[in-house]
C-alpha cells in the first residue's frame, strides 16, 4: 500500500477529466434517455408515450424473451470456457521466442482480424452446410452428416465455434501478460526440479490471474451482448426456430425492425442488470484469486 505517493486527490480528477466529459456528453445522456424510453411506448417517429412498467410486464410474458435468454446463457456458458482455455493454451505455447513464432502468432490471430465481415456468413455455410467441408470429411468415414448450420439443435454450436475460432484478442492479452512474468522465477522453479506442467500451475497461472480475470470479465460482458454472429449468419432472424436468437438480436429486431424502441430499451436495461449482477459476482470472487502487486 504505497499509494500515499500520490496524495493530492484533485489531481486524480484532472486525469479523469476527458473521461468525465465524455461520460456526461456521449454516454450518460444516451443511457438516461434509454432508461426513460424503457418506460414508454416509443416508435422512433412520434414522441415517447409513458406507459410505466408496461414494457417490463410484456417482457415477462414474452416467450421469445425467455427463449433468447436461454440461447444467450448457453452461448456464454459453453463458449467462454473453451475460448479462454484455447487462447491461454496457445498463448503459452507461442510465448517463447523461437523461429517462426511471430508468424504463427499472426496466423492464429488472423481469424479475429476478420471480425463480422459479410464474408464470414458465406464461409461458415461452406463449412457447416449439408454439402460442406465437415460433412465431406465425415463421408470419408462413411458417416452421413446433417445440416449443422440450419438445424435447430446444432445451429447455435456453429456460432459457438465461430466465437472460439476468433479467440485472438484474448490470446494477445494473455501473451502481453505472460511477458510480464519475470523469467528468473521459472529458472528458480526449474532448479527445484518442477516440470513444465507444474511450473504452469505454480508460477504462470497465479501470476497471470489479473489477465485471466480481465479476459473473463470482458468476454462475459461481450458474450452477453453477442449480436454479430447471429446477425450475419441467420440473416438477422435468429433462425432456425429461434435457436440462434441472441438476446441482443431480439432486442434489435424489436427496436429496428418493429419500431418498438421502448420495448427494446426495457430489454436493454434487463440485460444490463443481468450482466452487472454476473460481473459483480465475478469481481467479488475475483478478490479471492486475483493476484495484484500492491
Amino acid at each position: 500500500m504505497k499509494r500515499h505517493v500520490f496524495n493530492k486527490p484533485w489531481e486524480a480528477y484532472l486525469f479523469l477529466l476527458p473521461w468525465l466529459v465524455g461520460l456526461l456528453s456521449f454516454t450518460i445522456i444516451p443511457i438516461i434517455m434509454s432508461l426513460y424510453f424503457s418506460f414508454t411506448r416509443y416508435d422512433m417517429a412520434n414522441s415517447p408515450l409513458w406507459i410505466g412498467m408496461g414494457n417490463y410486464m410484456t417482457m415477462y410474458k414474452d416467450p421469445r424473451v425467455w427463449k433468447s435468454i436461454s440461447v444467450t446463457f448457453r452461448y456464454v456458458l459453453l463458449g467462454i470456457p473453451f475460448q479462454l482455455s484455447f487462447a491461454l493454451f496457445l498463448a503459452v505455447i507461442l510465448k517463447k521466442q523461437r523461429a517462426g513464432v511471430r508468424i504463427y502468432r499472426a496466423v492464429y490471430y488472423l481469424p479475429s482480424l476478420f471480425g463480422g465481415s459479410v464474408a464470414v456468413a458465406l464461409l461458415w455455410r461452406q463449412i457447416f452446410n449439408k454439402e460442406g467441408i465437415i460433412n465431406r470429411l465425415l463421408s470419408l468415414l462413411s458417416i452421413e452428416g446433417k445440416n449443422w448450420i440450419a438445424s435447430p439443435d446444432t445451429a447455435l454450436y456453429t456460432l459457438i465455434l465461430l466465437s472460439i475460432w476468433q479467440f485472438g484478442s484474448s490470446m494477445v492479452i494473455f501473451l502481453g501478460g505472460l511477458q510480464q512474468i519475470p523469467q528468473d522465477l521459472y529458472e528458480a522453479g526449474s532448479i527445484d526440479g518442477a516440470g513444465k506442467v507444474r511450473l504452469f500451475f505454480t508460477i504462470t497461472l497465479p501470476l497471470l490471474t489479473p489477465m485471466v480475470f480481465f479476459n473473463l470479465i470482458m468476454t462475459i460482458i461481450n458474450a452477453f451482448q453477442a449480436f454479430t454472429p447471429s446477425y450475419i449468419i441467420s440473416g438477422g432472424t435468429g433462425s432456425p426456430v429461434d435457436s440462434t436468437l441472441f438476446y441482443t438480436l431480439y432486442l434489435y429486431i424489436n427496436g429496428f425492425k418493429q419500431f418498438k424502441m421502448g420495448y427494446a430499451s426495457a430489454m436493454a436495461w434487463v440485460l444490463l442488470v443481468i450482466i452487472a449482477a454476473v460481473t459483480g459476482v465475478m469481481f467479488g470472487i475475483g478478490k479471492k484469486w486475483v493476484y495484484y502487486d500492491d
Binding site: 466529459v21 465524455g22 456526461l24 456528453s25 456521449f26 445522456i29 416508435d43 422512433m44 417517429a45 412520434n46 456468413a121 458465406l122 455455410r125 452446410n129 449439408k130 454439402e131 446433417k146 445440416n147 448450420i149 440450419a150 438445424s151 435447430p152 449468419i233 441467420s234 440473416g235 438477422g236 432472424t237 433462425s239 432456425p240 426456430v241 429461434d242 429486431i253 427496436g255 429496428f256 425492425k257 418493429q258 419500431f259 424502441m261
Partner: protein
Amino acid sequence: MKRMLSSIPALIICLSLAVGCAGNSPAQTNSSQSAAAQSESAALQPAEQSASAVAESESAQPVENVEIRAAWWGDTGRNDLYQQITGRFEADNPDVKVICEPVSWTDYWDKLAVQTSSNNAPDFMGMHPQYAADYIGRGKIEPLQQYIDSGALNMEGWPEGVINTGSVNGTLYMLAMGVTFSSVFVNDGLFEQLGVTKPGFDWNWDDMKTIGTDTRAKLDAAGMDSSWFMADLSNNLNSWRYFVRQNGHEIYTADGEIGFTLEDVTDWWTMYTEFRQLGIVPDAATTTEYSTATLEDSLFSRDKVLAILVPVNQFKLYSTTFPDKKLSIIRNPSAAGKAVGEFPEGAHFAISSASAPEKKAAAARLMNFWINSAASLELFGLDQGVPGNTSLSDSYMPNLDEYQLQIYDFVEKLSEIGTPSTFPAAGATEVDALFKSIAESISFEQTTVEDGAQQFFEQAKTIVADNKS
C-alpha cells in the same frame, strides 16, 4: 440543455486540435462552434475532397442552390446506373445538387429507421410496400398530391391502377418505380433433361402437386435426391397473399384490419406440409440454409429447384446471371375456379415529410425526371418493372432486348387480369416476421399446423390492433 452538454466535447476537441491542424488548414480564429466543427471535419476528411469542396464553393453559383439527398437500395450495378440518372437530372437542373446515398437492401432499412428517429431521412428515397405502411402510418412520408397540383409531378400517361399502388386510404404517398408482378421462373433445360412436362403458363395448385410428384420420381431416378420441384414458400407472405386473394379475401382490409380467415392460414400450411412430405419442396433445414443465400448461391442457381417465385422484373437479372440455364416465365399457381391472385406490385419512390419545403420540391422534380423523362427511362428501363408512364413506351420499346420484351409481355398480360389489392396495415413488418417464424416452426415439426395457424391468426390480430392505437 442537451445541445449545450453535447457541444462541450466539440469545443474541447477543436481547441486541442487547433494546434495540430494549424499546419494544413487555413488558420481559423473564428471560435463559433459550427465553424470549428467544420474545420474539424475538413481535417478528418481526405485532403482531396476538402480541396474540391473549397473549389466548388468558390465557383459562381445561382443563389437558389438546393442540395438534396437521394437514397436507394441495390447492388453495385444498380448504383452505377442510378448515379447516371441523377447525373442527367443535375445536368438538366443545374440549381439542384443530388447527393447519392446507396445502401444494400438489409442495411437500407436499419439506416432509415435510425435516420427517421432524428427526422433526418433522405429527401428522396426508395420505399418498398413491405415497409411503407410503417413509415406512412407514422407520418414520415410526404403526400404527393400538392406536387401534382403544382405541376412538379406530371401524371399524364399514368393508368389509374398504377398510381393507386402508392396510395393509402385515398392519399397518394408514393409513385411506382415500375409495375411488376410475382411470377415463377422455370428452368426449362432441367425439365427437358428429366423428361418432365413443365407446368403451363396458367397452372394451379393441383398441377403443382401432380407435376411436383412426377418431378420427385424423375429426380430420384436420376439420383438427384437433393433437388426438388420448387422452393418451400410456406413462409412467404407474398405467396400466401395470392392464396388468400384466390379465396376471395385480403390479408388486410382496406381500412387496415385483418382480412384473412383462420382457414386461409390453416389450408396454406396444410398444403405445404403435404408438399414437403411428398418431396415436392425441400426439407426444413435446406430451406433455412438457403434463406439467406444470395442469387448466385441460391437453390435455383445450384439446380436444386426447378422453379422459383420471383418478381418478374428480375427476369433479365436471372437470365444474365445464369446464361447456361434456359429460363421461361409462368404465372404463380392459381386456384381452379376461384378468384384471381395477381395484383400489381413494385417498389416506389417517396419524399421525406421531414425535409425542408425547397428540398421536397427539388425531390419532387427528381422523381418526375426519374419516372417521366425519356432521358432517365433510357437508362432505368425495366430495372424495377414496366414504367408507369405508358405514353413514354414508344421511346423505350425499340431498345428492349429479348429478356426485357418477355418481362414487358408478362406485365401486359397480367395487368389485364390482375385486380388491385389493399395496402398492408401498420405493423405489417411484424406480421411478416411472425408468419416466417411460425411457418419455420411448422416445417421443423415443432408446432402443428393447427396450433401454428391459430397462433398466427390471434397474434396478427393483436399486432394490427396494437399498431392502430
